[in-house]
């Protein structure tokens, strides 16, 4: 495993830990951006060019901005005075440690993982396009439908109800 990959992985993990534990929400959101960028770098190093660029475009360019807007619209931009950790945090951390141990153990002791390192696959955007239009056309159309439904749903949920005003201009 090459050194840049390990360094990127360590930076990503630190940023993820920071994103989950910082007090100020905007700092959490910004460390989250670092996590996304680190993951995109890892995808690029594993040879998945298209996915790496799509990750930056969608996650850093759109989802992170969405999270930041939501933080500002719910007035959570300042550092909170009260506790930020829920009661019962100990059980949460314990369960996540157990989850990691189980996953780690099953990865390290698995007999079905391939042992040899295969050569890097040659893939081009043209192949992705071909496969998307021939083999995976049904998921593609469903994703389009899902994104439309999600967009309409999100707009309707977050829409401000039109307030009714009477003749004197008072709102009800």
């Amino acid at each position: 495993m090459s050194l840049p990959f390990l360094i990127t992985a360590i930076v990503t993990l630190f940023a993820a830990a920071a994103a989950m534990s910082l007090r100020n929400l905007v700092h959490c959101a910004l460390s989250f951006v670092v996590v996304f960028a680190g993951l995109a770098a890892m995808y690029l190093q594993l040879g998945a060019q298209f996915v790496g660029f799509a990750q930056i475009l969608v996650y850093v360019g759109a989802v992170a901005i969405l999270i930041v807007f939501a933080i500002l619209l719910t007035r959570s931009g300042e550092t909170p005075n009260q506790a930020v950790i829920a009661p019962g945090w100990f059980y949460g951390i314990a369960i996540s440690a157990v989850v990691f141990t189980m996953l780690g153990w099953s990865v390290l002791n698995s007999k079905t993982l391939p042992k040899e390192i295969a050569a890097a696959p040659e893939t081009s955007v043209k192949n992705i396009g071909d496969v998307l239009m021939n083999k995976y056309v049904l998921p593609l159309e469903l994703i389009g439908l899902l994104l439309t439904a999600a967009m309409i749903g999100a707009v309707i949920i977050a829409l401000k109800e039109p307030s009714k005003t009477d003749n004197a201009g008072r709102k009800s």
Partner: protein, 398 residues
């Protein structure tokens, strides 16, 4: 002879590589290619600031800066040395950080803005065989790093703890996100017809000549409309007038970079202009054939000369638009993006599809252009009719 002039930079680099030992060659090659970007484009930026000030001055019927030529001498050079004292001023000004500002984020915001903009230059073709990183998915890379600029705008606006900075940042992000969609959709028509996301291949598809005129995509109906949409969207993405509400001096002082002074402001300024150049270059590559010549008789001019000539023409066009058009209000801006440009970009994709599938017929010009003309008439006139431009009324003075 002109071919050698065309490839002069490539041959120079190969010569230099000959002197470097075998092991270090990839690294030195990459370093040389990359090092040229921060040298050439900030130089272009300084010249463009002068051109802009003088151009705007002449449009506004005044001469612009005309005293500083070479500093410490009496040579005036009609004011073209103004960028030297401007640069020195920006570098030596005091770096004021507001007391309540979030120091780390405030410090990092200009850096986070500059890095994606410089990254975007790595996929742009500056001449024949002169691309730094010829990715398979070059256009996608460009738009991806363009989207990363929005995070830095937010960082700048929020960390200043200034409600006007935050408001300017929110407006800027809303504007950038809204105009990113027509930008990408108008680029999608070119990608669809060219069949590749690779910028060198898109240029290669435009590099043929019929009757002495190049096959640039701008000479087709969908390409022309796509080019206009791309131009308007790139004005909005670079926060230039008429879309500069987030940073206009008469509106919100300087919007998201109000609280920045000295070198950090210089970095923001540089990043904004470099972003403008990058997106002009992309528009030029997608629609105007990049480094190719428009007429077959002019192909002897080197490709990099065409590149910089076209880039300067675009920059002149942007400066001209800045001096001429008034600013759009925020709601007018958003209406324009979502209600006119987005449907127009989608109909442009349909028109491009019609063009492609009708083959080499000459009737396809009529159909493609007809769809676009009808769409423009309906959308444009339809939107204008909704405006009730009557007598001005006041809300609270009843």
């Amino acid at each position: 002879m002109f071919d050698q002039l065309d490839q002069i930079f490539v041959t120079l680099k190969h010569l230099l590589m000959g002197y470097v030992p075998e092991r270090w060659q990839p690294l030195v090659s990459a370093v040389i290619s990359i090092a040229l970007i921060p040298v050439i484009f900030p130089g272009l930026f300084s010249i463009v600031t002068i051109l802009e000030r003088k151009g705007l001055g002449r449009i506004q019927n005044r001469p612009g800066p005309n005293r500083v030529g070479i500093p410490f001498t009496k040579i005036r050079l009609a004011g073209f040395g103004q960028f030297i004292p401007d640069g020195v001023k920006m570098l030596t000004k005091e770096d004021i950080v507001p007391r309540a500002a979030d120091k780390v984020v405030h410090f990092l915001a200009p850096v986070v803005m500059l890095i994606p903009v410089l990254l975007a230059y790595s996929v742009l073709p500056f001449g024949k065989n002169m691309t730094i990183a010829d990715f398979d998915a070059g256009v996608l890379f460009f738009f991806a790093v363009g989207g990363a600029v929005e995070v830095s705008v937010f960082m700048a606006g929020w960390s200043s703890r200034n409600k006007y900075s935050l408001l300017g940042a929110m407006r800027a992000i809303a504007q950038m996100v809204s105009y990113e969609i027509p930008l990408i959709l108008s680029a999608v028509t070119v990608i669809m017809i060219a069949g590749s996301l690779n910028l060198s291949e898109i240029i290669a598809k435009q590099n043929h000549y019929t009757a002495g005129i190049a096959h640039w995509y701008v000479f087709t109906p969908w390409g022309f409309v796509g080019f206009i949409l791309f131009l308007i969207a790139s004005l909005a993405e670079s926060n230039r007038t008429p879309f500069d509400l987030p940073e206009a001096e008469s509106e919100i002082i300087a919007g998201y970079f109000t609280e920045y002074s000295g070198f950090k402001f210089a970095l923001f300024f540089l990043a904004e202009y470099l972003g403008m150049f990058a997106i002009c270059t992309l528009g030029m590559t997608l629609f105007l054939g990049g480094w190719t010549a428009p007429f077959a008789c002019l192909t002897w001019i080197p490709s990099w000369a065409w590149f910089f000539g076209k880039l300067l023409a675009f920059v002149f066009l942007f400066i001209w638009i800045r001096g001429t058009l008034p600013r759009l209000r925020m709601d007018q801006l958003m209406n324009f993006a979502w209600k006119f440009m987005l449907p127009m970009a989608l109909i442009n994709i349909v028109a491009a599809g019609v063009w492609h599938f009708m083959g080499a017929d000459s009737l396809r010009w009529v159909y493609s252009g007809g769809i676009l003309a009808v769409a423009y008439a309906l959308l444009g006139r339809g939107l204008m009719n909704k405006q009730k431009l009557g007598k001005r009324t006041y809300r609270y003075a009843e």
